[in-house]
């Protein structure tokens, strides 16, 4: 293994080690939360709602819940890990190492991506025991999930780097991210919304992500799959470029 490979693997291991040491909070709690969503919205409300677009309500909401688990965990992990290390000053150990800005950025991003993947995979496995969840378009599902995971990992890095206190992260998570996810159609179909809410939903980027994941699982989408995939890829690349520039400049990382 080369020096650079050892370095990158160690940077990533540190991120994984961090969330695994508090796994009740970082893995257990989000898993329980998703399970409760499936129970409440699926079993309790679902029996009254019946079907949406010919799909069982509980099955209809589960792809969105999997996407929500991946995205929120990827975001929360990276934003809090970076801010915490900035607070403790421990990030200086990585910053004074020979690691390049690209290595640092990718390792931080991959930490949250891994946590999001774990929670989403466990959610999928648990859901498979409870409901009959098909995977209709795996060639759309896999790149879509990876792009969603990478996008929110990058977003977490961006917020973590910019944040100066934990309130800054809470602000982004509670007042921006969660409303976008909840209003993006995880629990309902946007086509059933009255105006102007239906049109407003089309301006929510998370709506297109949920549609992509839903299409991958169920073969149902309200938006153009190709266009959504392209837009998501472009947004992810743009966010990555912004972060790389911040890391290269040492923005709020190096004095």
């Amino acid at each position: 293994m080369s020096t650079a490979q050892i370095r990158f693997l160690t940077l990533w291991r540190r991120e994984v080690n961090r969330f695994m040491k508090i796994k009740k909070q970082t893995i257990g709690a989000p898993l329980l939360e998703t399970f409760l969503y499936i129970s409440v919205f699926g079993a309790a409300l679902g029996s009254r709602i019946g079907e949406l677009h010919g799909i069982d309500y509980v099955v209809f909401v589960t792809p969105g819940l999997i996407m929500m688990a991946w995205s929120t965990n990827a975001f929360a992990n990276n934003s809090s890990s970076i801010l915490q290390q900035k607070f403790q000053g421990a990030i200086q150990d990585q910053l004074s190492s020979p690691a390049s800005p690209l290595e640092l950025l990718l390792a931080f991003a991959l930490g949250g991506f891994t946590r999001g993947f774990l929670v989403a995979a466990l959610t999928f496995i648990a859901a498979s025991f409870l409901i009959d969840l098909p995977v209709d378009h795996i060639l759309v599902l896999i790149p879509a999930l990876f792009l969603v995971g990478f996008f929110f990992s990058q977003l977490g890095v961006l917020v973590g780097v910019r944040a100066e206190q934990f309130d800054d992260i809470a602000l982004a998570q509670t007042f921006v991210l969660q409303p976008l996810i909840f209003l993006g159609g995880v629990f309902y179909s946007a086509s059933l919304l009255p105006e102007p809410f239906q049109t407003l939903t089309y301006f929510n980027p998370v709506y297109y992500m949920i549609n992509l994941i839903r299409y991958g699982f169920l073969g149902y989408s309200e938006a153009s799959v190709a266009l959504s995939l392209l837009a998501l890829a472009a947004a992810t690349v743009a966010l990555f470029a912004v972060n790389l520039r911040l890391f290269s400049r040492g923005y709020r990382l190096r004095a």
Binding site: T10, N17, Q88, G250
Partner: protein
């Protein structure tokens, strides 16, 4: 007396020096100029003391040399490597024990050392052996599985020193390493640092304990208000300031000669 004593000769070329700094300026976005054209040379294998009052620019200079701060202008070369352009090569040979106890609370003592070595690309077996060696050297073996946040201040300081040495740096930077530590650790540390210095590791030390600097360092620089105001051996500095020890030379530099121990002893008698 002039505030700018040029006691440092031309010396060997920059490429042979452990640290070569030229006209280093660090200006923060607030407008504060922490370093104002600092030039400094540390010979390979030397034991160099950087002394000055709080806020003089010592830590900023160290941060610029290790990549924790970005210089506004000037040049920094570490064993000939440009600390900005060839940062990977430059950082590879520097070990930093910072003033702050900047340990990661989530990691154990052993993980702290192992991860640090990993950041510098050390293979697993080498990391394991080096970790064992340094845990033993710094009396941390019994604490190896404890999380860093549970350690006492002295133990944290030991760990920070061990961490700085993990990747076998050629230049070891010790920023106030004995601040708040007991006499036992202080002596242990100096014995160890003197040993590795004899074995070829260059040391850059900042400390407020001037008698330590006088005993340990073969060359010393005084920094004040972001400028190097004097550098040379302890003997050269004391002679230049017309005093008998480094502490009095320092007090002369900051204009507080009335605090000199000889003056105080005179008052008591």
């Amino acid at each position: 007396m002039s505030n700018h004593l040029a006691l440092d000769g031309a010396g060997p070329p920059a490429n042979e020096r452990a640290l070569h700094i030229e006209e280093l300026v660090k200006r923060y976005p607030t407008g504060v100029e922490a370093l104002r054209g600092v030039s400094l040379g540390i010979e390979s294998g030397g034991f160099f003391g950087l002394l000055g009052p709080n806020g003089a620019g010592k830590s900023t200079l160290i941060h610029c040399a290790t990549g924790l701060a970005q210089p506004t202008s000037g040049t920094i070369r570490v064993f000939g490597h440009d600390a900005i352009g060839d940062y990977a090569e430059a950082r590879q040979v520097v070990g930093l024990a910072p003033q702050e106890l900047n340990l990661d609370w989530f990691l154990t003592v052993e993980e702290t050392l192992d991860y640090h070595a990993g950041y510098f690309g050390m293979p697993k077996r080498e990391r394991r052996d080096r970790t064992r060696e340094l845990l033993e050297t710094f009396s941390l073996t019994a604490k190896r599985d404890e999380r860093t946040r549970t350690l006492s201040g002295g133990m944290k300081r030991r760990l920070i020193l061990a961490r700085a040495l993990m990747h076998r740096p050629r230049l070891l930077i010790l920023d106030e390493p004995t601040a708040g530590v007991d006499i036992e650790l202080r002596l242990e540390l100096w014995h160890y640092v003197q040993r590795i210095n004899r074995e070829g590791t260059t040391i850059l030390l900042t400390t407020h304990y001037l008698e330590e600097a006088e005993q340990l360092c073969d060359r010393v620089a005084f920094i004040n208000e972001g400028q190097i105001v004097a550098q040379g051996s302890s003997a050269e500095l004391t002679s230049a300031y017309g005093v008998t020890n480094l502490e009095d030379a320092y007090l002369a530099l900051v204009g507080r000669q009335e605090l000199s121990r000889s003056q105080l002893e005179g008052l008591v008698s």
